[in-house]
Amino acid sequence: MNDPTDISPAAAEPQELGTSRREFIIGTFYALAAAALASGCAADQLALDEFVQKHFKDLTPDELKKTIARMEKKYWEEYGANIKINATPPIPGVLYGYALDLSRCIGCRRCVYGCIEENNQSRNPSTPWITVLEMDKEGGVDLANADAFYDHEQVPAPGKFYMPVACQHCENPPCVKVCPVEATWKEPDGIVVIDYNWCIGCRCCITACPYGARHFNWSTPIIPKDQINTNTEYLGNRPRPRGVVEKCTWCIHRVRKGQYPKCVEVCPVGARKFGNLLDPESEIRYILENKRVLILKEELNTQPKFFYYYGL
């Protein structure tokens, strides 16, 4: 036991605890992984860097810069487009909220198409972030009898009303709770985001979301080169790889720069309202305080920041 020649790891180890040790282990891992991979595919430095890529929140500003440069280069090779990736921080003192006027929406799906283009969504297969449900006016909001695949010459169809559903940016998001690797989280401005380079594609979050808001890249997304939106955000609309989950981010690349989400802009009847819940003068606060508001699946306590209301 008390062998003086004993040089057990415990004896040899520097007496440091906490992060430095953790970093040491992580560093060793990366080095090993790098060595293992480099021997196999020395040529493919990009793939290697991507493999050992860290969680978004663990990146130092310098690493973030390098990562973004690498991604932009890769996108250039893949799409032939000069995609610019930003990592815009949240604006302090802002908590976003959204309201949709059920009495105005006509079910034209312009928001759906606008969203697809704005957010570089795959055209084939297509799993749009916004689902517009058609229901009978007689039946009220009754998801069991809702039709997401309606196809009419003209909308609104007689006797029907429409309810667009996308991510509700829950204050108490079950999708975040279940993710085994923390690849998805709620930002300080209330937007629920996903790190597409950390998601392992287990689809727990798809199962946990009560609003069908999350979509999986079942195959490699296809976006026509000339239709790429080159203004992108790291946690938002940059093109996604296969095998990860994506969803509405309230156009994080626009709203953090003070613009409205695309769907708000394209809605022909002005059914969509967006603003800062913390600002008592905002339109969204006016609606919440003065209109009849409906919260989808309120009983689940997800506390959506997306509100339906009857404006007329």
Binding site: T127, L133, F149, P174, G201, C209, Y211, G212, G243
Partner: protein, 409 residues
């Protein structure tokens, strides 16, 4: 002898035992498993190239056959070890052997579980994100992260105990009970926990009313107590024929009796669930309607399986409740096969799919597994059975063969 040399001898010796001196039936079985594995690998490489689009899964039904099989096998793994309890209580004679075979079955089942999770992942290349320290384990909030923990710990414990016991037997030593007994005792609550945590994975999803029921975890345990022992009973009988493994009839009868209790409990809990849904007749009933008949005038592709599973469970229960039938090997084995498949269908198909159908926005996607999924699943079973077969072959050679000394001479 140098311990390293000992280990080396053990590895080579057991390797020889695994592949040499088998009967033609044994080699035929190995060949069959290899074919299964190869076709599974081919199917998986297809899936790897195309993505999960090659499965029948879509956003509406985002877990299916793979995760169903995973859930079933967690049950098998749990029940295999829980059999240790009666073995100790009644002091069945080949208790060491019962422990070893139970733990080996658990090891093979957990390996299959982990493989099913891997083939279901969109980004298997990022598996390390789930590791402690280098990754981000989302504890304590993610049940999936907990499940990964308990499954891996369970795998390590069982693998260690089983190989340690075999290693000692190989060297003709007595095992050290100070090492084995605490680990075996620890593996019992672990067995309960792997299945409970797996049940919580579904149970905790408030978005899916079909699973959001407090008796889901008890139902998991009850059904596992039906399917796991069924598999072991058949295995014990085979081993009794082909080796010196002399488990007594009374022991087998005792297990069968426990299975009868488990079956009663399983059907009772199931009935309680069905009563609650049909009597309260809320909107949540749609999932049961999809399970047993269909929605919007269309028969669901899983209804026939749901009824099959129920029928198998009832017939097996009748067999196991009547002592005369339970004690006749022929009928008992039929009952074992029936209950095994009943639980397999129940976990593999009837648990996952109706949870997603209709989806959270009321849309119905009629999921059926694709050919790729079925083939990959067969491949995973091939790997699991291969591991189990080789382990059993080795342990039979070591534990029962009188001339085993030759192997490491």
């Amino acid at each position: 002898m140098n311990p390293l040399v000992k280990v080396k001898n053990f590895v080579f010796g057991t390797g020889r035992m695994a592949f040499l001196g088998g009967s033609p039936v044994y080699y035929g079985w190995l060949l069959f498993l290899l074919i299964l594995i190869c076709q599974g690998l081919l199917a998986y490489s297809h899936q790897f190239q195309l993505g999960l689009i090659s499965t029948g899964l879509r956003d509406s039904v985002s877990w299916g056959f793979y995760i169903g099989n995973f859930t079933f096998l967690v049950g098998v793994a749990a029940a295999a070890v829980l059999l240790v309890i009666p073995a100790y209580l009644y002091n069945w004679k080949p208790i060491r052997e019962v422990v070893i075979f139970g733990e080996m079955l658990a090891v093979a089942a957990i390996v299959m579980c982990l493989l099913f999770v891997c083939v279901d992942m969109g980004r298997p290349d990022r598996f390390w994100h789930l590791f402690p320290i280098i990754g981000h384990m989302h504890l304590p909030s993610s049940i999936m992260a907990w499940d990964a923990c308990v499954l891996n710990v369970y795998l390590i414990i069982n693998l260690f105990v089983a190989s340690y016991l075999i290693y000692c037997a190989y060297n003709g030593k007595k095992y050290n009970p100070k090492i084995v007994v605490p680990l075996v005792i620890l593996s019992i609550p672990m067995a309960v926990s792997i299945h409970t945590v797996t049940a919580f994975l579904y149970n905790g999803m408030a978005s899916r009313p079909y699973w959001n029921s407090a008796i889901l975890a008890p139902r998991f345990i009850a059904s596992a107590f039906c399917s796991g022992p069924a598999l072991l009973l058949i295995l014990f009988q085979i081993l009794r024929k082909v080796s010196d493994f002399d488990i007594k009839d009374e022991a087998i009868q005792k297990v069968a009796e426990y299975m009868a209790y488990a079956m009663v409990l399983n059907l009772f809990l199931y009935g309680a669930e069905v009563f609650k849904e049909y009597y309260s007749n809320t909107h949540h009933l749609v999932h049961y309607k999809y399970l047993f008949s269909g929605l919007h005038g269309q028969t669901s592709p899983i209804a026939v399986y749901a009824w099959m599973s129920l029928a198998f469970a009832v017939i097996a229960l009748v067999i196991f409740l009547i002592p005369k039938l339970r004690m006749t090997p022929m009928t008992m084995n039929i009952g074992c096969v029936l209950i095994y498949f009943s639980v397999y269908i129940e976990k593999g198909i009837a648990l996952i799919i109706p949870g997603y159908t209709p989806d959270t926005l009321g849309q119905v996607y009629r999921y059926v597994p694709s050919m790729t999924e079925v083939r990959v699943a067969m491949g995973v079973f091939g790997i699991g059975f291969l591991i189990f077969t080789l382990m059993v072959k080795v342990s039979v050679a070591i534990l029962f063969s009188p001339d085993r000394k030759v192997a490491h001479a």
